[in-house]
């Protein structure tokens, strides 16, 4: 095995070692399942009811995907408005920051009450958490155009539309993709947080609700199993978006 292969294998090897240590410690110290379940107990808990947990995961993922779609559309639209007019930039920027720093846990109950429909309110919450990276990255990308290229466009009589379509938007794409990758993780976090809030209000939906329910019933291994599924989903979303952005940039000759 050479250095590169070792590097690629490192996360899996480290994870395996940690799992072995975990299982070993739990057995050696005789820790009860309701405090810290070992990896094998967690796997057993998952296998007892894989359908229920996977359906819950599907529900969380559909909220995440809808929120990511909404967040990237909203982020790009607002960034375009900010690039088009200094007035819009001045008007939007502080409020985007306000929305970004407001803890979603604090406003989720209000949103759930106001929106009514459970699915939509979850998507709204997750969108609020996820839209900021797309917005700020795209705005930076739209502005980061070389002044010399702008001169070249002007000398050739380019219209505002041509400058946007042929210069600013393509130049912003790598920035947008970097933001999208961050937003993907945030959308999942936002969806789960909103589900927690909604779950304690009685909306039985998503993995977060399964976690809550399991913790009420002291079914701690099941709780951990749901948590593991969430982690895997997060890693998969990140990897998928990274792969998508690599593919797109390579197709355009930029990587």
């Amino acid at each position: 095995m050479n250095g590169a292969t070792w590097l690629r294998a490192a996360p899996a090897l480290f994870g395996l070692a940690a799992l072995l240590l975990w299982e070993g410690l739990v057995r050696a110290l005789d820790v009860p399942n309701y405090l810290v379940p070992g990896p094998l107990a967690i796997l057993r808990a998952f296998l007892e009811d894989p359908g229920g947990l996977l359906l819950a995961l599907l529900s969380t993922l559909s909220v995440t995907a809808s929120a990511l779609l909404a967040a990237s559309s909203l982020g790009v639209l607002l960034a375009l408005a900010m690039a088009a007019s200094p007035w819009a930039r001045a008007a939007i920027q502080p409020w985007a920051v306000v929305l970004q720093v407001t803890p979603i846990v604090a406003i989720a109950p209000l949103i759930i009450v106001w929106v009514g429909d459970p699915f939509t309110s979850l998507v709204v919450c997750a969108t609020i958490v996820a839209f900021f990276p797309v917005l700020s990255n795209t705005a930076v990308g739209l502005a980061a155009v070389s002044p010399e290229l702008l001169d070249l466009f002007r000398l050739n009589g380019a219209s505002r539309w041509q400058i946007l379509w042929l210069l600013r938007l393509p130049a912003a794409l790598p920035y947008f993709l970097a933001g999208l990758r961050i937003s993907g993780g945030l959308a999942l976090v936002g969806a789960v947080v909103a589900e927690f809030v909604a779950g304690s209000g009685g909306f039985a939906t998503g993995l977060a609700y399964r976690i809550l329910e399991a913790s009420y019933r002291l079914r701690i291994p099941r709780m951990f199993a749901a948590l593991v599924l969430l982690c895997i989903a997060g890693i998969a979303i990140n990897a998928a978006l990274a792969g998508f952005s690599r593919w797109l940039l390579r197709r355009r000759g930029e990587v």
Partner: protein, 246 residues
């Protein structure tokens, strides 16, 4: 072609970048603006391009001022679109003028062939060397068949051998295309080799201090010509004198 009288320009901060510039640009000239950093060469080039207006004085074109695509520009950085292939980069000025890909393609191919890059049409900028990128930038500037070609230290970032080759190619292109060229440089050797008229500029504020008419024939052979060495010496002497003057 263009007459500048008493042209001045201030930076936004208030510093004078150019003052009292008089310059006559004739059809078919190859003019080098030579001087140290901060002498207003690039500012003057932007005024000629019409990218900035003069604060004082006048820029008057003989006949109609150039429209879109009639001025070609090349910057120190090739500034290609990284997401577009070489040919698509060259197509850009024509595309901005409303020409579709199929209609523009013969002109694009011809411009790439002119700079010796006919085979690199489908390559992306990142797969090209620094010298090849600059060639693409020159092809992009030539594709609209401009009346006036403006170059702002285009070869300053290239290695000596690539620079020499591109200088020779530019000279040949100018002789063939017979457009007017204004070339900004801080290299005396470059100005002496390329230009028919060497305009010496001094900083603080930027002024035209002197002008030298080149006695050389535009040819790659002049590099080894004693007359070239003499012109370099003469230019150096007069540049030094201009810089010493208060």
């Amino acid at each position: 072609m263009l007459t500048l009288r008493g042209v001045g320009r201030r930076f936004p901060g208030g510093t004078e970048a150019l003052a009292g510039v008089d310059l006559d640009l004739g059809e078919g000239d190859f003019l080098a603006l030579l001087g140290p950093s901060g002498c207003g060469k690039s500012t003057l080039l932007r005024l000629i391009a019409g990218l900035d207006p003069p604060d004082t004085g006048s820029c008057v074109w003989a006949g109609a001022p150039p429209g879109p695509g009639q001025i070609g520009v090349v910057f120190q950085d090739p500034t290609l679109l990284p997401w577009a292939r070489a040919a698509e980069n060259v197509w850009l000025p024509l595309r901005l003028g409303g020409q579709r890909r199929e209609a523009a393609w013969p002109a694009v191919q011809a411009a790439l062939a002119q700079v010796g890059l006919a085979d690199a049409a489908a390559r992306y900028p990142r797969a090209l060397s620094g010298g090849m990128r600059m060639r693409v930038a020159i092809a992009r500037a030539l594709v609209t068949r401009p009346r006036l070609l403006l170059l702002d230290e285009p070869f300053a970032a290239l290695d000596e051998f690539t620079r020499h080759k591109l200088q020779e190619d530019l000279l040949a292109l100018w002789q063939r295309a017979r457009c007017t060229v204004v070339f900004v440089t801080h290299s005396i050797y470059e100005a002496a080799f390329l230009a028919r008229r060497i305009v010496l500029m001094t900083p603080g504020p930027g002024r035209i201090a002197d002008e030298i008419a080149s006695p050389l024939a535009p040819s790659p052979q002049t590099r080894l010509d004693p007359a070239y060495a003499a012109l370099v010496g003469e230019t150096t002497r007069r540049m030094q004198r201009a810089l010493e003057m208060p």
